[in-house]
Point group: C2
Chain length 342, copies 2
């Protein structure tokens, strides 16, 4: 390797509330050498996702929390620089959880598993961390497998202008549903009902939520794709149809909480309306990801699905950029460009 | 009719908090005469159920609230005194929602539907308002159809010594599960692990809930049958296994609330553990009730299922008796004896 230095963010302390500078430490360490069975990957793009904040905490969660002093966990796309694994060759493009760093060992006995990009798709590389990656798979399986919408159903999604939410609404439209998005600015709402083709959008910061739901969902709500929690969930629960489904995909309003947050005050509506509410983590569907990625790629090719990416240059900017997911300023799939595309 | 007087409870005002005497008014009205297609039923037994308190309120619920000045809704067992409907004969025993009164018209164009008791079962009449009625069907379909337990699963039920909970745990045992009951007194816990055959019982009033759950559920919780809500639900949510199921059948801790109650503080665990939580109302399964009733009757005949009834004499005592469902003093299926068995 010509570049012998690997720069990385390690978790120095667990954030209380919003991530602060001191919670992550930026380190320079030698680029590791692959052992038998391993590959050395240069990270090109790092995906920033709300779940990163969960991993930094020690709450009871769906994966082990990132350990203190360990490299921060993150989903990445990279290029194989050196391979001692017969399944990978130098130059292969791969995705995997290689973390907030410039280089990482993968595969072998201790490295994270990586997957080669599909060969038959010609999309810009960042798309493979967005609609053609975990983000798209989250929207696809969460909506279709857990939400189980039928044609004509009303599908409501929160954080609708976000990376997952925007795809959820578009899939709902493709499946013949009424798509209603909840977002936090007039600009985002215009994006939803404009380019993204949602039937209606609600600005939760300025609209009267219940009145807006009544107007946007004249036939009630059949599927709610939940990314947020808190008062939005409470409002939506009062408008659910009998036997409606709630896909509990995220609770972004709670990830920076410094004290316990109550569940929905209208929890009893789950009983009264016989709602089916299910927690959903896309990793459970990993063997079926190709199905989602091919479907979404097809819709993009046909012009039926649109997406945006928000690329921030430089690994050193990752901590500050992560805040955009929680303060409402993020637009499109948030990705850090760590190094140049090959 | 020799008795020309029908005594009945009507809803005078909606209770705030616990039911008070002034909320129900006891009236004497003439016994009605059946029109063509109707039958006149003399009520023998009236079932008292936690859901009665919901019906008295004007919260958003699964049936319309009882209207003010109307006869209080209730599930009853009675005998046909006079029939102008070819499907029913004088002397037939029937069940249906005939309300808190001594006589009621049923069938026809305006009367409540009633169902004849199964002819092939020889059980004491109160059993048809308990394990062989709505109570048993609630336990059966809630546990088996929504909870979907597999052999070896750990099933936890709250209000476990109650009419529904005690059957839930016994069905869990019959299906090869570990049954753990949560109840509110040492005496109830002894009943659970004694006569009813639960593997373990937790006294939520005196035990440390989390420690007790750890001891009672060494392999975690696969199915939680929820009748209570509040702090019990919060504790259980921290001990759920991956892809566990929560049958949301009741939230008795909230029915007398005078201010909004928060949902579970550990709501996020539904996401992290990918829990399937579903609201359940047994009326949705009414066409399948015979399946449950025959299964439960078989288990009772085989000595594999036990139940208790708590019979209070006299319709005039119904309001006071209802309080037993909420103050922890009820033991067994609570039934008002309104008139003599035929």
């Amino acid at each position: 390797m010509t570049n012998l230095i690997n720069r990385q963010f390690c978790l120095a302390s667990r954030p209380v509330g919003y991530l602060k500078e001191e919670n992550l430490v930026f380190r320079e360490v030698p680029v590791p050498q692959p052992s038998e069975g391993e590959v050395l990957v240069r990270v090109v793009y790092l995906s920033l996702d709300p779940t990163n904040r969960i991993w930094m905490s020690n709450m009871d969660q769906y994966m082990p929390p990132v350990e203190l002093d360990a490299v921060m966990r993150g989903i990445t796309l990279g290029v194989v620089e050196e391979s001692r694994n017969p399944k990978f060759a130098k130059g292969d493009l791969v995705t995997g959880m290689l973390g907030w760093q410039e280089y990482a060992l993968a595969e072998g006995t201790t490295g994270s598993a990586v997957r080669k990009l599909p060969r038959d798709m010609n999309a810009p590389l960042p798309a493979f961390l967005g609609p053609l990656g975990l983000t798209g798979c989250t929207a696809y399986f969460g909506l279709l497998d857990v939400g189980k919408p039928s044609e004509g159903d009303t599908v409501v999604v929160s954080a609708a202008a976000g990376a997952v939410g925007s795809i959820v609404g578009q899939i709902a439209k493709i499946k013949g549903c009424r798509a209603v998005g909840i977002a936090g600015s007039a600009e985002k709402c215009r994006l939803l009902t404009g380019e993204l083709g949602f039937d209606a959008a609600i600005n939760y910061k300025t609209d009267d939520l219940l009145a807006a739901l009544d107007e946007a969902c004249p036939d009630g709500i059949d599927v709610y794709f939940e990314n947020v929690g808190g008062k939005i969930l409470d409002a939506v629960l009062t408008r659910m149809n009998l036997h409606a489904r709630v896909v509990l995909c995220g609770l972004i309003s709670q990830y920076n909480a410094t004290r316990p947050k109550p569940g929905p005050f209208n929890f009893s509506q789950i009983l009264m309306k016989r709602v089916h509410l299910e927690g959903f983590i896309v990793l459970d569907y990993i063997t079926r990801w190709p199905e989602a990625i091919h479907a979404i790629a097809g819709w993009i090719d046909e012009g039926r699905m649109h997406y945006a990416v928000d690329i921030v240059e430089g690994l050193e900017n990752a901590p500050a950029a992560l805040g955009k997911l929680f303060d409402g300023t993020n637009k499109g799939k948030l990705i850090i460009k760590v190094s140049e595309e090959p």
